[in-house]
Symmetry: C2
Subunit: 312 residues, 2 copies
């Protein structure tokens, strides 16, 4: 089996993972790169580079809303672009992967420190969908002896809210769980709300469908909603809209819908930055005016560029 | 088997019906009364009257958010209160049931006439949860050769949105269906939204959970949302809050939730009248200021009164 054929098989679990957050999936993607870069590799570094480009495109195509996959690939491609031999390329790739992994973990831990201060002791905290950053932040606060209860909803159709509830309760948190539209009933009792985030650019924040309603309800009820995300979630404005074309099979929503019913199964949506209380990153809590500096400094490898309105 | 024992069995399907609208369930309740009033009946009219009070209380207790059940019982009790014999009582009861049934059907047809004018030809129309009044209104418009497409969501946890989609598509309407939180994605393409309603009083409108989020989103997006309901949905302010104490089993939301997770399964919630574009009744489209006259003229049989804050 060629490396390219292997790649196809490695991408499938990432493409079909509808319950993990972006940071979690990026960690899986690091292993895809590690696997592809294991011996034997072609002697010609150009061939290896081509493999890395293919792997990056496949990963980004598998989860186009998840910015960390793009950055992981971009980082690998940038780090290896001047390598003159396969050996040098492999070493540079390995370094880049290790650095990226470390950064993901460090970000999560620094975000958790910031979130600790945002949780009011003894109160109800709302969490939406599934984000490993939200989970690690809530569990960190709990382990630091801050007591609070969490409320979460199921997050149809993938039900990753059940995964969230299960993880939080296993760690000793009291959890209240309900269906998604009951947000309107439970939010008035919550003092703060958290969600993850898949990518950010000037037009706003992309996250799991349901986040728009959550943000709207929080704004109406004066509940601060924070999005938690490492700065590896920033992308160019063009890339932000890549999620729009992607639709999951309708039968994941309704297995036996009557023939005349068109079942829509979109996964992600855009939330105006001004509707949230802040973006909690490893560099602190960012506001809308901070987005510019992170987006404008992005350097994108030529293989991954999207040409604005003419993007294919 | 005594009539009271029979009653218990007749109430169960009404109590466990989580997918029918209030008007539809009221039609089932008419049959409960008819069945109870069939021969043989006790000679003493006081005993028959007691049976009717018990039946009314059981029906109202089974679906405390559904005003038509209350009015049906109230109408029967008021109509029969002066009867001097079982024969007279049975005749008065039968008359009242027939009148109520006719009124429900007439209301639905007059509401459908008003709704016809609210549907913009060729556009997308959003409908939430399940209401027989909404279904009959949309199908009436379609049968009058108005062409439009309907969008609906599943309405977790009972999924009565699938019943709605199935009924609309069987009648030849094109239907787009998605999960509930995708409202934020589909509503911007809709020109009008409709929902049913379970009861109305001065504090607002009670309807299936999710209606609050729908109304909030419609307000945000400037989409007129109409609640469709016959005036048999008006109740006293005290009775309006009866729905609050009622919770369905958590396992209907999550069958095998981990022990530390408390699963909340409320069915109804309150929506401010000012968030909707109007209440479409058999008397036309009502606004918030019209509620007063309908609520203030309600006459409640003594067996059904709730004493304000001291309600048991």
């Amino acid at each position: 089996m060629t490396k390219l054929q292997e790649l196809e098989g490695l991408i499938i679990p990432i493409r079909d993972d509808t319950t993990s957050g972006a940071a979690e999936i990026a960690l899986q993607a690091i292993n895809v790169f590690r696997h592809l870069m294991s011996d034997p590799l072609p002697d010609d570094p150009a061939e290896v580079r081509k493999l890395l480009v293919e792997a990056t495109k496949a990963l980004v195509g598998a989860q186009p809303a998840m910015a960390p996959l793009f950055h992981l690939g971009n980082t690998v491609l940038q780090a290896t672009k001047d390598a003159r031999s396969t050996g040098e390329l492999a070493a540079l790739c390995d370094q880049a992967l290790e650095k990226f992994e470390l950064q993901l973990c460090n970000s999560a831990s620094m975000i958790a420190d910031h979130v600790f201060d945002l949780i009011p002791a003894g109160e109800l905290v709302f969490a939406y969908s599934f984000s490993s950053t939200v989970v690690s932040s809530l569990l960190h606060a709990r382990s630091q002896r801050k007591f609070f209860r969490a409320v979460c909803t199921e997050a149809r159709p993938s039900m990753e809210g059940r995964k969230l509830a299960t993880m939080l309760t296993s760690a000793g948190l009291e959890v209240i769980h309900t269906f998604d539209t009951a947000m309107g009933l439970v939010l008035p009792n919550c003092r703060v709300a958290f969600m993850g985030c898949d990518c950010i650019a000037r037009p706003g924040i992309v996250n799991k469908v349901g986040s728009w309603l959550l943000a709207l309800a929080c704004r109406e009820l004066n509940i601060p909603l924070y999005a938690l995300a490492g700065t590896e979630k920033f992308v160019t404005d063009e890339r932000l809209f890549e999620f729009e074309d992607h639709e999951r099979p309708g039968n994941e929503v309704w297995e036996e819908a009557p023939p005349g019913v068109r079942v829509l199964n979109k996964q992600f949506e855009l939330i105006p930055f001004s509707w949230i209380a802040g973006l909690v990153t490893e560099h602190g809590i960012l506001q809308e005016e901070d987005v510019e500096q992170y987006v404008s400094r992005l350097e994108v490898h030529e293989a991954l560029r999207i040409e604005g309105a003419f993007a294919s």
